[in-house]
């Protein structure tokens, strides 16, 4: 469970990225954070695993007050939180399996990692994670040989190999084509439903957010302007989040999967 109480984030240059954020996210939810570029979506997501520390307020993740964690405790927390990025962030020169095994680092000693040793159980976990996102056959291929969609699935497998209870996704489909986008979003949905992993995703595509998520958080200039179930989202609310009405066309990624087949 995640709980934010009066959280603020001010960057060293004085820019106030988050203002008085209060939210509570239960286990198993699929939350989409929407808003304009620069609204603070990425910052909010990164404060959850303290990739960006908060300036004031209290943030709890699984009962831990994250601003009070020391380095080691923070690493122990992070290893149970998967993260997926817009640009995949894979080591392109390494094989797919090595990229997925990276998700296991925090479960192993520094010494064995230095020698590149991973236990066999970790390798099995990594391979199973690859199977869950349907690219097991690419396990021993170099990461840069894969297409964008496949690379994002490897990144997702890396997150899964952490055996997380929460996955943070920062614009996971923003650099994918519309068809691959739907495949990857389906992966997220399946992971959320069958494995009961909480998913918090920043989304550009309003219609995708509405289609896949259970709950929408709307950010505008660092403040939460909407927080509620997908069913409660209407044009009025989108107007509030984006500052002007959003036409059907502007919801992006407008293809329906059935329409493509």
């Amino acid at each position: 469970m995640i709980k934010f109480v009066h959280v603020n984030k001010v960057y060293p240059n004085g820019f106030q990225a988050l203002t008085d954020i209060n939210l509570e996210i239960q286990d198993g939810e699929f939350v989409a954070i929407i808003g304009l570029s620069g609204a603070g979506k990425s910052t909010l997501l990164r404060t959850i695993n303290k990739m960006i520390p908060i300036t004031s307020g209290e943030a709890y993740v699984d009962g831990n007050d994250i601003s009070k964690l020391n380095k080691k405790e923070l690493r122990m927390l992070r290893r149970t939180i998967g993260m997926v990025f817009q640009s995949f962030n894979l080591v392109k020169r390494s094989s797919v399996i090595n990229n997925v095994l990276a998700g296991r680092v925090a479960y192993n000693s520094t010494l064995s990692t230095m020698f590149g040793i991973f236990p066999k159980s970790d390798k099995m976990l990594a391979l199973e994670a690859l199977d869950k996102v349907n690219i097991l056959e690419k396990a021993f291929v170099r990461a840069d040989q894969l297409s964008g969609g496949q690379q994002q699935r490897v990144a997702l497998a890396r997150a899964l190999s952490q055996q997380p209870h929460l996955i943070l996704a920062d614009e996971p489909v923003a650099s994918l084509d519309p068809i691959t986008t739907l495949d990857v979003m389906d992966d997220f949905k399946r992971i959320n439903e069958s494995m009961k992993i909480t998913i918090i995703a920043n989304m550009h595509h309003v219609d995708l957010a509405l289609q896949y998520a259970h709950r929408i958080i709307g950010l505008k200039e660092g403040k939460i302007v909407f927080d509620g179930p997908v069913s409660a989202v209407n044009d009025e609310i989108l107007l509030q989040i984006y500052g002007r009405p959003i036409s059907e066309k502007e919801k992006l990624g407008v293809v329906e999967k059935e329409a493509l087949v």
Partner: protein, 287 residues
């Protein structure tokens, strides 16, 4: 000329947009002025180009030794002797290769961690980075020859001072080259590893090393090549190897021997080039 320095404006559909003045032009002009100006301080009277001397020395280098007999006639030694001498160089050459190999290896082993220490994107402590770089700059300003001289002074003649000098030189140059490369790597994988709960060492091992490893191989082999050539100079201070041979030949004005040594070194560098290509190609396939 006036146009060259002025800011350009474009009219597009009734709107005006200005292209900002590029500073590059000023730098270019300063560079050209400096280059031309520096000629003013050269005494061109001393500049005599004796092309026949150039050919003479080339002939002396790449031809068997000449003798003047009692009648004043010039005869030449046999090519067999020339090539025999070349073949006999293998012992000193091997000595030099060993020295360079160990020196490059030791220097590189220290340079890799130190370059991480000097890279702004790995070491977030600004002051430590500046101090570490200052140390590197200091070491790099000392010519290898001087390092070797100091080492000979401390350790006596032979293998060891040569290795020390080559190690220090390799360390300083490889550290500098590597930290500049490390600063250009993709930081995305590092962020991903950190989000998985990796500590700094694990991030280095799993996200940084795979990105810089092929570059390290290329640089190390390149520095090995530089060291082979530098070892010729090291011979002058008594570090042994092919440099010593070169010095002896120069002192006796045996230009034929000097030429033979140059050919052998050139062949070695060519072989190295070939190996570098093979190793890099192999590394690109594997990983």
């Amino acid at each position: 000329m006036k146009h060259w320095f002025s800011t350009k404006t474009f009219e597009v559909n009734g709107k005006t947009i200005r292209q900002p003045f590029g500073k590059v032009k000023i730098y270019l002009l300063i560079f050209v002025l400096f280059f031309v100006g520096s000629f003013a301080f050269i005494n061109t009277d001393q500049f005599v180009f004796q092309i026949n001397q150039l050919f003479k020395i080339i002939e002396a280098l790449f031809r068997p030794r000449s003798f003047n007999d009692i009648h004043g006639n010039t005869t030449y030694d046999t090519w067999a002797h020339y090539f025999e001498y070349m073949w006999n160089l293998r012992h000193v050459l091997f000595y030099t290769i060993k020295m360079c190999f160990i020196g490059t290896f030791v220097g590189s082993v220290f340079a890799i961690p130190f370059s991480l220490f000097c890279a702004n994107n790995v070491n977030s402590n600004h002051w430590v980075v500046q101090i570490a770089r200052a140390i590197l700059n200091f070491i790099r300003t000392i010519p290898t020859l001087v390092i070797a001289l100091i080492a000979v002074f401390f350790l006596g003649l032979g293998y060891f001072p040569g290795i020390i000098a080559i190690s220090i030189f390799s360390f300083s140059i490889l550290s500098k080259m590597l930290y500049e490369v490390i600063e250009t790597i993709d930081m995305g994988p590092c962020e991903a590893l950190e989000s998985c709960g990796a500590n700094k060492l694990k991030v280095i091992k799993l996200a940084i090393m795979p990105q810089i490893m092929p570059i390290i191989w290329g640089y190390v082999l390149y520095i090995f090549e530089i060291n082979i050539r530098a070892s010729v100079i090291l011979g002058y201070v008594g570090a042994g190897g092919i440099g010593q041979e070169m010095q002896d030949a120069m002192e006796l004005r045996r230009y034929d021997k000097v030429g033979a040594i140059l050919i052998v070194l050139m062949l070695l560098v060519m072989v190295l080039q070939f190996v570098v290509g093979k190793v890099r190609g192999h590394y690109d396939e594997a990983a």
